[in-house]
C-alpha cells in the first residue's frame, strides 16, 4: 500500500509523457500558425527516411559513432578491469576504483568543455605534440574529436560492469584451464572472455545509449556539419518548434535501443548489470 501513490505519480508523469510523445510523432505542425494539428500522418517518418534528405546521414553518423565509441571503450576498459579484478592488491584496487568512478560523477558538461580547450588549435594537445616534434592536429569540430570525447566521458560506464564480471570468475576456472593444457591466450579466449562477455554487453548498453541520445558533445566538439540526432531533436523542440517531427526523429534511437536491449537480454547482460 505504501507503494501505490509514488508509483502512480511516476506512471502518470513519466510513462504518460512518453506515450503522448510518440503519439504526437504522427501529428503535424500547421505551416502558417505553427500550431500542432492532430492529423494522423506518416509524413514525419517519410521525411526522415528520404534518401536525399539530411536525416538518414545524421542518423547513420550518430549510430556509427555510438558503435565505434562502444568498441573503443571495451578495448580500453578490459585490461584495466582485469587489472582491478585479478592483479591489484585490495588497497590499490579501492584507490583505482575511486579514480575511475570520480570522473563519472564530476560534471559531464565540464569534462566536455575540458576537451574543447585541450583539442583547440592553441590547446594542450598541440602544445604536447609540438614539444615532442610532431605537427599540429585539428581534431576540434571533427568526427574524430567527438569519438575521443565520447569514448572519454562514457569510459567508466564500461569499466565497472566488466570489472564486476571479471571479479566473479573463480580462480580455479583459470587453473583448471591451465591444467588442461591451455596456454594463456587460449584460456583468455575460451574461458575468460565468454565469462566477461555479459559484463561487456552491460557496459555497452550505457556507452551506446548515452552516445545515441547526446547533443552536448556534438554541440561543443562537433560543428553544424556533423550534427547528431540529438542536435536536430533539440533544435526542433526549441528554435523551430516542431514537436511532432522531433518526436518522430527521436523514435530512431529508441527503436535502436529496444532492439539492442533485446539482443543484450539474450546474451545474459541483465544479470551482469
Amino acid at each position: 500500500m505504501l507503494l501505490v501513490p509514488p508509483v502512480a505519480a511516476f506512471l502518470v508523469v513519466y510513462v504518460g509523457a512518453l506515450v503522448a510523445l510518440f503519439i504526437s510523432a504522427f501529428w503535424q505542425v500547421d505551416a502558417f500558425t505553427g500550431k500542432i494539428v492532430h492529423n494522423w500522418t506518416f509524413e514525419n517518418f517519410s521525411d526522415i527516411l528520404d534518401w536525399s534528405g539530411p536525416y538518414l546521414r545524421i542518423a547513420g553518423r550518430t549510430i556509427g559513432i555510438a558503435a565505434a565509441v562502444t568498441v573503443l571503450d571495451a578495448i580500453l576498459a578490459f585490461p584495466l578491469a582485469y587489472y582491478l579484478a585479478r592483479v591489484a592488491k585490495p588497497k590499490t584496487r579501492t584507490l583505482l576504483l575511486i579514480a575511475v568512478l570520480l570522473p563519472l560523477w564530476s560534471s559531464y558538461l565540464v569534462r566536455i568543455y575540458a576537451w574543447r580547450t585541450i583539442l583547440g588549435h592553441d590547446g594542450a594537445l598541440n602544445w604536447t605534440l609540438n614539444k615532442i616534434g610532431l605537427p599540429d592536429v585539428n581534431l576540434l569540430y571533427t568526427n574524430w574529436g567527438m569519438l575521443i570525447v565520447f569514448t572519454y566521458i562514457w569510459l567508466p560506464f564500461m569499466v565497472i560492469p566488466v570489472y564486476a564480471a571479471l571479479e566473479r570468475v573463480p580462480d580455479n576456472f583459470l587453473e583448471a584451464s591451465a591444467d588442461l593444457g591451455a596456454k594463456g591466450w587460449r584460456t583468455f579466449r575460451s574461458v575468460l572472455l565468454p565469462l566477461a562477455l555479459p559484463g561487456i554487453i552491460a557496459g555497452s548498453i550505457f556507452t551506446f545509449s548515452l552516445t545515441l541520445g547526446d547533443f552536448i558533445t556534438p554541440l561543443l566538439i562537433g560543428s553544424g556539419k556533423n550534427q547528431f540526432i540529438g542536435n536536430v531533436v533539440e533544435s526542433y523542440i526549441g528554435v523551430n518548434a516542431n514537436i511532432p517531427f522531433a518526436a518522430a526523429f527521436a523514435t530512431i534511437p529508441v527503436l535502436v535501443m529496444a532492439v539492442y536491449l533485446l539482443i543484450a537480454r539474450r546474451l545474459g547482460a541483465f544479470e551482469a548489470l
Binding site: 507503494l3 558538461l109 592553441d122 529508441v254
Partner: protein
C-alpha cells in the same frame, strides 16, 4: 595468478595510462581557473585568482547557482522519500507487477536523457503546466529516485529481515524497532544515495534544457556561455567550484557505503 610477469607489467602500464587519460582533462580545466589571460591557450603564462571574485560577484552566476541548489535539494528530498519507500517494498514483499516497477524505475537511466527531456517537455506543453522550479525538479527526480533506490536496495538486500522480527520478539514497538534497529542499518545508505542524487541533479543539463523554459540553472548558464564563447575566464572559475561541489559529496558517499557499494571490502 596465471598471468606471466610481462603480462602483469603490461596490464599495469595500461591501467596507469587509462587512469591518466581519465584525469588529465579534469586537472587541466582546474588549472585554467587561475589563468590570467582571456584567451584559452596552453601553456598558461600568467596567473591570477581574480576570476573567483568576479564569478562570486556576478549576479547571473549567483541566481543560477541558487536555482541549482534549490532544485538539487528538493529533487534529492523527493528521491529520498520515494526511492527508499519503493526499495523497502521491493525488497520485503512480493506483489503483482513487482518486475514492472523495477523496469519502470530503470527507464529514466536506460533511455537517453533527451527522450526523458522531450517527453516531459511535451507533457508540460500539452497539459499546460507552466515552466517553473517544479518542472525542473520533476525532471531531476525521475533519475534521482533511481539512484537512491539502487543504493537502498543494495543495503536492504544485505540486511536480514529477521533482525526486525528479533526486535519485535524482544518487545520493541514499531518506533523503537525503526529507531534502534532499522535506522542504524540504513542511515549511511540513505545519506550516500542522497549525496549522489544531489551531485547528479546539480550538474544535470540535458533533461534540464527541456524542462527549464527560460530559467537558468548553473549548468545551463555554463552551456549558454560556452555556446556564445563569452565570459570564459568566469566560466573556468565557476567550473572549478562545480567540480569540487560534485566531487566532495561523492567521496563522502563512497566512504559511507564502502561495504555495499561497488567499492567494497572483500
Amino acid at each position: 595468478m596465471i598471468e606471466t610477469k610481462g603480462a602483469r607489467i603490461g596490464l599495469r602500464i595500461w591501467t596507469i595510462a587509462v587512469v591518466l587519460f581519465l584525469w588529465i582533462p579534469i586537472l587541466t580545466i582546474l588549472v585554467y581557473a587561475f589563468n590570467k589571460s582571456n584567451i584559452q591557450s596552453w601553456p598558461i603564462t600568467s596567473w591570477t585568482t581574480h576570476w573567483f571574485s568576479a564569478a562570486w560577484n556576478d549576479p547571473d552566476v549567483r541566481s543560477s547557482l541558487w536555482l541549482s541548489l534549490k532544485c538539487g535539494l528538493i529533487a534529492t528530498g523527493i528521491a529520498l522519500v520515494l526511492g527508499s519507500m519503493i526499495s523497502f517494498a521491493i525488497s520485503r514483499f512480493k506483489f503483482f507487477g513487482r518486475e514492472s516497477v523495477t523496469f519502470l524505475l530503470l527507464l529514466p537511466i536506460a533511455l537517453p536523457g533527451i527522450i526523458t527531456g522531450m517527453a516531459l517537455n511535451s507533457f508540460y506543453v500539452f497539459a499546460g503546466v507552466p515552466f517553473s522550479i517544479w518542472s525542473i525538479v520533476i525532471g531531476h527526480a525521475t533519475f534521482c529516485v533511481v539512484v537512491v533506490y539502487n543504493n537502498m536496495l543494495a543495503r536492504l538486500r544485505r540486511t536480514s529481515p529477521s533482525i526486525v522480527e528479533a526486535s519485535q520478539d524482544l518487545g520493541a514497538d514499531g518506533w523503537q524497532t525503526f529507531r534502534f534497529v532499522l535506522w542504524p542499518t540504513i542511515a549511511t545508505a540513505l545519506v550516500s544515495g542522497g549525496l549522489l542524487a544531489f551531485a547528479l541533479s546539480f550538474d544535470e543539463v540535458i533533461v534540464t534544457t527541456f524542462t527549464a523554459g527560460a530559467q537558468t540553472t548553473l549548468p545551463i548558464w555554463i552551456l549558454d556561455q560556452l555556446r556564445q564563447g563569452q565570459n570564459l575566464p568566469v566560466v573556468n572559475a565557476v567550473i572549478f567550484a562545480v567540480i569540487l561541489l560534485t566531487i566532495i559529496p561523492v567521496l563522502v558517499s563512497v566512504r559511507l557505503t564502502r561495504d555495499t557499494g561497488v567499492i567494497r571490502r572483500r
